[in-house]
Symmetry: C2
Subunit: 65 residues, 2 copies
């Protein structure tokens, strides 16, 4: 699963730590998501999409197969 979290965060000039705060997760979690170490839970994916005013499909793209 690819995501545009880092790109969207940088567009807003937000630090990893402040994004973590807005999402109510640890900054380690933001780092892991941006690096693609794991996928967010579905509720966290919703929080992320809504924070950036996008749909989940606009933020996350499943791997091709």
């Amino acid at each position: 699963m690819n995501n545009r979290i880092q790109e969207l965060r940088k567009n807003r000039n937000w630090s990893p730590a402040s994004l973590a705060e807005k999402l109510d997760v640890s900054r380690q979690t933001v780092n892991a998501l941006e690096r693609g170490r794991y996928d967010p839970s579905l509720p966290l994916a919703f929080s992320i999409a809504r924070l950036f005013d996008l749909t989940i499909e606009e933020v996350f793209q499943p791997d091709q197969d």
Copy 2:
């Protein structure tokens, strides 16, 4: 998180077991998702939405806080 999985499955006249097969998960997982015992992973949420030709937002609705 609420979801419309059972409704969408019944509209297609699919059994829980055959939905499980299409999604490549166990029928226990389908049962648990329909009963709201837990949320699917993000990749599984994508599989479900695409199977029904809907967006994730059309299938899953986060709880109102």
